[in-house]
Every structure is written in structure tokens, then in C-alpha cells.
Subunit: 211 residues, 4 copies
DNA sequence: CATGAATGAGGTTTCATTCAT
DNA sequence: GATGAATGAAACCTCATTCAT
């Protein structure tokens, strides 16, 4: 009358990942303190008890959620193939990738903000921080070298600065979409407006790297 | 051994403003859900009861705190006198003002993030949103015109884009200081590093507006 | 600059009676525990402080309200002139008076119910209970004698029984109007229905007293 | 010196019903606003927390208590077997049943009064109102027909009127026992007095239905 | 392994009242 | 005498978690 071990195993993983997905959503919507185990359990069609069973504590769930969204970003970044394109085009492509990723993953932005509210303590406790270090700084460094050699970029550009600039320009308007729309009186995060904004942001980057 | 709020004079404004200052600090440290009325009362050397007497509810305190930090920014912005300086210098001055304001007012960044987590609902319920609209977009528009006329800026620049770019570049590294330091392995928000970063950000803006 | 004593005196009485009227309404709507001093003060266009000033405590206000509604009933009862009418007509008139009084003074019913919930303790503490003793039992006794002598009523009727029966028949449907309408599926307390009900109740009384 | 709810077995129904019984008692004694969760928990030898676990909120507990007392009445009414007795005897039996039920269930009267103070809102929110509709009106209708056919009752009597009259006569003196004893100067709700009163009330009904 | 029942501790909020001019 | 400011105590309710089978 007991289920076959294999099916159980699958169920186990399936339940865990449904809980994790629900947790990411819940933490993104309500922050760490506002999140409710009850809602996570319900959305995952499981029970609160299981949440503790798999993750130990609320903070444990949050840590897992945070690691998961970082891992997803890293995986997406790994898919970039900047070295196949002309330098300026590659830089544009990279910027677009970052911005679109933020736009399509509001849960990433929200979890990061929440983690910063908590002074990064969960990230610190997390597995290997080294695992989080993204490959993109290296990729950008290569790209900048290639562009400089080709004469389309200035010399002496710092890949970290470029990365921070690109991230900043994409992050700010999405992270602060609600207060900005109250203060500016219109939605900068609306699809059309966003596209126009990105176009101009791309220009900011281009002019910065141009010789 | 004596209780703290003993001989408090019946000074409505003083009590209220001590509570408000303590609330801003508490919400900035812990977010809306993580904030504790008890801690606010204690820090303000008053009682939790007074918090409700003046602000009605926890959300009421948060709304007041949010309005206060916006009002402070607006007041500081009013003190800017960009029209007295050469255009490019004025633009630099403006950028520096914004960035330094963010650096010196981490509570502003935190409250804004918290308000965005809550989808801007408290700002919406707040008195006049129009009161929040800052004068800086107008000031920047004037400055861009002046600079274009003088030939130091390009024509057709959008003041909102410039404002968003400046704000973005300053906000991101401070708001995400803890996750960035975990991921990058060093503190970009440290004083020296920040100065270097701002120098480069100023360059990004300069190159963007240059003809 | 001070007001004339006479005007003050008037104000004083006016404020007190506005507070009392508001209190009767509030206690009738919400009971003793549900009533709020704040709402009483607001409805009386005065302050909560004045409520304590005039009545000492919440229970003091309730006692005053209870005394007031009893006094109003007694005054109304005093206006009855049953001895001017033929006995059966007078009995009908009396029943109608009681029923209409209940219908027109829902606050009386509600305050009585509240006082009974509290086991009559406020009435006990109240001034002279003797002042509450209504003249109607005596009036009814006279009427029953007159009717018996005239041969239109039976001998040996107890005035208290008659009074309780009349009061019961009028009180129940009004006091329980909300639960009755939920259980019976229609509003017995609606004007038309009430009139029909009273007609039948009058008949109950008539048949009871008939020889 | 040991805490009370120590070795309680995990018996869902037992705990729930102890809480419900305690709640009925507490609400009957103090009304909705005057009732204290702490006292309910203590009387049920459980914890306040469990009250919320099973009923969600104070209003939820009240609703459950109200439903329970109605269900008890309905169950008792179902036990009546009026069709086995001669009509007039059956009517007397029914009246006595109602009056005795009220006398033996003061909590029923008190909860009903409380619910009426709150305008019947909890009954409205309650499960099926239809479930509350008692079978007695139908039983009375049958009885009246039987009596009319047998010639011991008048024709054209309305069962609802009879029901309301019986209920009124029983309810009033019990619901208002405390104010009545203050006003009349003696306890009508004392056992002997009550018996005498009921005897006379039975006569009122008999004379009303007699041909 | 899995799960429904249970709960201590503490959070937000309200109440009736008093203080101090 | 009249009033705005203040408040201790306790109410209702929630949170994250553990118990016990």
C-alpha cells in the first residue's frame, strides 16, 4: 500500500520545489517579515509543516529562496555569448540582457532589496559566497579589451564600473517603480516607456565607452 | 531605576517629533513589518501609547515617516542654486548633491525601498502627492536649456532622463551595498571607493550631455 | 470677557443634556461595553472630558441614561387618562399606548436589555427605586374594578398579570426583531405587520378579561 | 502549582466543545463586548490561543455559540410529540415546553438579546439560516387544524401569532427579570411566582383559542 | 516519513480614565 | 470651571514553531 520509493523521491523533490517557488513569490511580495508560511504552504498546495520539514525555519526558507534567485541569474548569465559579436553590439546586447532580466524577474529585485534591508546577513551565512560571484565581470573585461584593441572603446575602462552603471540604470526605475510613478505622475515601468528609457540608457553607456 | 518618561513637559510638538525621528530610524532598520512600536517608543523616550495617540496606527506612523523623509529631501533640493554656476559645473554640483544626499540619508533609501515593497500604497494614501513632486526636474530643464544655448550641452536632452540616470547611479550601489559587497568581495560603499565611483559616474553624465 | 452667569448656566445644562441624549443613543446602539465615550462626545458636539466632568465615569453615564429613559416612560404614562373612557376601550387604549411607546422608543428596549444583561445592578444603585415604580399598575387596578362592576370584565383579575401580558406581547417582537426576521424570513417589525400583530394581541387581552 | 492544560490529549472535538460551552456561558453573562477570551479559555481549561485556533476570532466564537444555542433549541423542539395528545392539552404542553426551555436556558435568552443588540448580523453571516427555521410553526399549524376539526379551537387561528404570543409571554419576564424585580419590588422569576404566572399565561392562550 | 494538533511569547491596538494647567 | 495632553492596563490577535503520533 506504500508508494514505490522512486515515486516518493519524485514527490519529495516536487513538493520541495513547489514550496521554494511559492516562497520566492511570497518573499518577493511581502519581504522577510511580511511573508507568511501559511500562504507559502497554500500556494504550493502543501502544508506549513512541510516547509519546516524541508527548510528548518523561516530564515532557512528565505536563504534557500535567495540562493535560488541568484543561481537563476548566474545560469542566465552563463548563456551569454558576447564574444561572438562586434564589441559595441555585444555591449548593447549585454545591457539589454541585464535590463530585461530585471524587468522579467521582479522577484529578484525584491529579494535583493529585502536582503539588503537585513544587511546581507543571509547571503553571508549562505553556502559558498564564491558560488555567487558571477562570471560577468570577467566576460565584460574580455569584451572591453577586445573593444579597445579594435579601437571602438576607450582604453582604461573598468569592467566593474561598466557593470555597476548598467545594473544601476536598469535596477533603479524598476525597483522604485511605485514611488516614481507617484512622484513623476506616470508609469516609467510601463512597457513602452521602459523601452524608450532603455534606448537612452544604452546611449549613456555607448557615449561613456566611446573613445 | 526611575522610569524614563517621568517629568516630560506637555509639549505636543516635541513629543511628536521625537517619536517621528525614532520611527524613521526604526522603519529604516527593519522595514514596515519588522519595525517594533516598543523600540520606537523607547528610543523616543516616550510610550507606545503616545505613538497611537499621535499617529493612530502603525501604518499611520509609517506614512508620517515617509512623508517626513520626502519633505526633507524636497527642502534640501530647494536649497540648490544651480543657476549661479556655469552649466557643466552646475550639473556636476547637482549630481554630487544627489549622491551625497543618498549617502548621508540611508533612511531615505530604506524607506523608499520599503514603500516600493508595499507597492506605493502609503504614498498614494498620503496627503497631496503633488506636494511630493520635487522642483528638481524643472531646475534641470532650465539648466539643460542654459547649457545648450551656451553650447556646452547637446540639444534635445530630456531632464527626466538625466535625473533618473543620476539618481540611478547613486542609488544602486548604496541600496545594494550589502549584497554587492558579498558578491564583489569588497565594500563599494566605503568612503574612498564611493568617491572614486562618483568621479566615474560624473564622467558618465558629462559624456552623455556633451555635444 | 467672561460670559454672563446665566448664559453659562444655560450652556452648562445644554451641554449636559446633549451629552445625555447622545449617551442614550450610543448605549442603545452598542450596549454598555460596546459604547464609546468618544462617539458620545462627538455626537453631542462636546468632548470626552466633559462626559467625565458631568457624569464621573462610564457607568455613571449609563446610570443617568437609564434613569432618563425610565423617567420619560413614567412621564408618558402619567399622561394617560383611562378613567374617561368605557372600560374595554380604556384597556385597548392602554395596550396601544404601551405597544406604540415600545415601537417609538427602541432605545428604551435596548437599555432595558442591557441593564438586564448586567443583572440590574445600575438600577439598584440608582437614586430612589420608588421613583421608578410606575403608576400604571394602580391605574390598571382601578380600571379592572370599574370594568368588573360594569360587568364587562371578569372578577378577580390581577392588574400585574394584565400589565405583564400587555408588555410581553409588545416587547418580544420588537426586542427580537432581528433574530425573528432571520428565523421567520420576514420582518414582523415592519409597520403594516406590526399593526396586524397588535390587532390580534388586543384580541388576546380582550378575550382574557372578558367574563 | 502545575499548569492546567498539561496532559490534554489531542482530542480535537473534546477541546473544541469545552471551549464552545465556556464561550456560551461567558457571552451569556457578559454580552459580546464584555466577554473575555481569557475567561473562556480558563473555564474550558484550555488556552486563549486555542480559541483562535478553532474559531478564528472573537466574533467567530460568538457566531459558533449562537449557532449552538439555536441548534439545541431546534433539537429539543424536535422531541415534542404534540400529535399524541388531545388538542388543548397539546397546546398547554407546548406552551409549558417553551416556557420551561427559556427558564432552563437563560443563556439562550441572553445570546438572543445580544444578537439583537448587534442587529442580527452574526445570524445573517451564519451558515444556513434555513437550518435555523424551527419546525414548530408547522407543528402548531397541524395542531390548530386538529383542534378546529375537533371543535375545541376556533377556526382561522394563525400559528405564527400563537407561537409569538406564547414565546412573548414566556420570554419577557425572564429576559427582564432584573429590571422587573427592581420596579415591581419582588421577583417574578422566582420559582413559585413563575409557576403562578405560567398558569395564568396558559389561561390567556386557552381563552384566545377557545371557540 | 509525514501530518494534524497544539502553543508560548509577543505584537498591535483599545479602553476608560487622570494629569496638569 | 474647563480643557488638551497623556497613560497603565489589558484586550484581541498573530507569529513562528514544536509536539506527538
Amino acid at each position: 500500500m506504500t508508494k514505490a520509493p522512486v515515486a516518493r523521491r519524485r514527490d519529495r523533490e516536487a513538493t520541495r520545489s513547489r514550496l521554494l517557488a511559492a516562497a520566492i513569490d511570497e518573499f518577493a511580495r511581502h519581504g522577510l517579515n511580511g511573508a507568511r508560511g501559511e500562504r507559502i504552504a497554500e500556494q504550493a498546495d502543501s502544508s506549513e509543516r512541510m516547509l519546516y520539514y524541508y527548510f528548518g525555519s523561516k530564515v532557512g526558507v528565505f536563504r534557500a529562496a535567495l540562493e535560488a534567485v541568484y543561481a537563476d541569474l548566474r545560469d542566465a548569465e552563463r548563456g551569454l555569448a558576447l564574444d561572438q559579436m562586434p564589441p559595441m553590439e555585444a555591449l548593447d546586447h549585454f545591457s539589454r540582457f541585464v535590463w530585461r532580466y530585471y524587468a522579467e524577474h521582479p522577484e529578484f529585485i525584491s529579494l535583493l532589496n529585502t536582503e539588503n534591508l537585513h544587511r546581507g546577513r543571509h547571503l553571508r551565512d549562505s553556502a559558498q559566497v564564491s558560488e555567487l560571484v558571477s562570471p560577468v565581470i570577467g566576460m565584460l573585461a574580455d569584451l572591453l579589451n577586445r573593444g579597445a584593441t579594435a579601437g571602438v572603446f576607450r582604453d582604461g575602462l573598468n569592467p566593474q564600473t561598466i557593470y555597476l552603471a548598467i545594473a544601476s540604470l536598469g535596477y533603479f526605475v524598476l525597483s522604485n517603480r511605485h514611488t516614481l510613478s507617484a512622484v513623476l505622475g506616470h508609469e516609467i515601468s510601463a512597457c513602452q516607456q521602459l523601452e524608450a528609457h532603455w534606448l537612452e540608457c544604452a546611449r549613456i553607456i555607448q557615449r561613456y565607452v566611446a573613445p
